[in-house]
């Protein structure tokens, strides 16, 4: 079934690199292209959060911390020091990984609601810090005039070029999530989620595994933040409020907790649904809330559950019975 397995990835790559750009070119509107990029960045955030909250079972509200750290790192470096995109990206990943490891060691001693509350505190203190550390962050003003992405001397000025960069970034991130979630590594992380004490008695270094997943999620969110800063060219504290973390979390709950397709669906829904509901004006927030409420009520495991996602991707495991047997019902 090898050809089938490749075709899922291939189909997704073709969708992002050919079909969507063709539609964007047909629409010819920078606004729609910007929306598409926002979807892709949200998909990356959802995927990273789903790896942590779904696969590792650590309910986290600190999305905006690492996303924001990455964005502010890129903004401060490029505006104040004139560095290029790749340098900003490397710096953002470096800083978020380091902070992810440090926070990770402190945080993974906590589980369940205690972990959630600690990460919520991080998100709130990050926002407060950004607002008040004016010398560094320019406080409520935020950073304007962040230069567009430059790669090898070429400025990606056109919205289509910018879209392609985001799409490629999204595909790389999805590949990383895929490898982590649909491998024996993912199995080990899920075992730790299910019963930590039992996993330890099987020789799994549960805390270290959690720190790794936490740091990886931080690094990818940091990279997404740097990309957001350079493609949006403006960032401010309002982009990184706790509510944004909650929105990404809601997305993965609707899409399917622990499931990679669920994260993609979640990212799509959380960006596009509010846009689609723009027409109905003031009823928008109500309709949005109602949809989320109903989806959680009737689809408690999300639109694409973890069990289904794992069955779909299990064929990637080497020499498992499924690699010979083909797709499951």
């Amino acid at each position: 079934m090898k050809h089938f397995r490749i075709s899922i990835r291939l189909a997704f790559a073709v969708l992002l690199l050919a079909v969507v750009p063709a539609l964007l070119a047909w629409a010819g509107s920078p606004y729609v292209a910007r929306l598409a990029q926002l979807v892709l960045i949200t998909v990356v955030l959802s995927g990273a959060l789903n790896m942590l909250t779904g696969t590792a079972g650590l309910l986290a509200l600190d999305t905006v911390v690492f996303y924001g750290l990455g964005a502010y790192t890129a903004a401060i470096l490029s505006v104040n020091h004139g560095t290029s995109f790749l340098v900003d990206l490397a710096a953002a990943v470096g800083i978020t990984t380091t902070i992810g490891i440090i926070f990770g060691f402190a945080l993974v001693r906590l589980t369940s609601i205690f972990f959630a509350v600690a990460t919520m505190a991080l998100a709130i203190s990050f926002h407060t810090t950004v607002l008040n550390w004016g010398d560094l962050t320019r406080g409520p003003m935020g950073y304007r005039g962040i230069p567009p992405v430059q790669l090898f001397g070429h400025t990606l000025g056109h919205w289509l070029e910018s879209y392609y960069l985001t799409a490629i970034f999204c595909l790389i991130a999805l590949f990383i999530f895929h490898r982590v979630m649909h491998s024996f590594y993912g199995n080990a992380v899920r075992a730790v989620r299910e019963d930590e004490e039992c996993a330890r008695s099987l020789g799994l270094q549960t805390r270290w595994l959690r720190v790794q997943v936490y740091a990886l999620h931080a690094a990818i969110m940091g990279a997404a933040g740097a990309l957001y800063a350079h493609t949006n060219q403006f960032i401010g504290p309002d982009n990184f409020v706790l509510l944004e973390s909650a929105l990404v979390l809601t997305g993965i709950i609707v899409g399917g907790i622990g499931s990679l397709p669920g994260a993609v669906i979640g990212g799509l829904v959380m960006v596009l649904l509010p846009e689609a509901l723009r027409e109905i004006g003031n009823l928008r927030a109500f309709a949005f809330g109602l949809m989320l409420f109903l989806s959680i009520l009737f689809l408690s495991r999300g639109l694409f559950s973890e069990v289904r996602a794992l069955a779909l991707f299990r064929r990637d495991m080497p020499r498992s019975p499924w690699s010979r047997r083909g797709p499951l019902p």
Partner: protein
Amino acid sequence: MKTPSASSSGIATPLLQVHGLAKHFQGLRAVDDVSFDVQRGELVGLIGPNGAGKSTLFNCVAGALARTAGEVLFEGQCIAGLDPVRIARLGIARTYQNLRIFPDITVFDNVCAGAIGRIGISLLGALLPALGRKRDEAIAEATLSALTRFGLLEFADQPAGNLAYGQKKLLEIARALTLQPKLLLLDEPAAGLNNTETTELATLLRSLRDAGLTILLVEHDMPMVMRICDRIVVLDSGRKIAEGAPAAIRADAAVRAAYLGDEA
């Protein structure tokens, strides 16, 4: 050091040595000065009335509880106070009294956890398929052979929570065995099983022992313990009151008194 001198001479060291082990919960002496050995290839039963301290002793050996005093030596090396992860990697696998499987993930994913713990995985190996392939194949092979051996292969892609109770018990043993332990600690494996299942379990444990695995078995089911164990250690109120072959234990006055009351 209370380490017996046998360890340095040519005489084979027992696989597991428990010396003067004690575990006190505030005033309660759950385990009090218990000593016994388990030789390589032996199937040793640990029995005693309710509250005798069997499970406490068991958890001290497995590293889940810190002991108050005494020594636990595995292959002559002190393991008391070690982290359960280290103990598992040294070659001691355990099961739990109250079934602890991972209910929401599949049977395959449950069983592979022990193989992962033994063989190890790395984030880099997960991200770069070429780097992790050898380990992945070893994990898959160990998991498949355990599933086949325990007749669980046909349920491999079902959530473990869907299995029947007896199969969940087998799953837990299969998972422990993918660690390829030198010593298997079983905490009441027959609890909740019907007669047929208990007989099957006894046959299975005996065949594991015949294949060379050393087993320490905590069990309530007296007929099964008497039938399959090479040697039996009896605890009562935290103290060891008898040790010996099943026939000797059956005839032991102290054991009878502990089980039937002092007047018996």
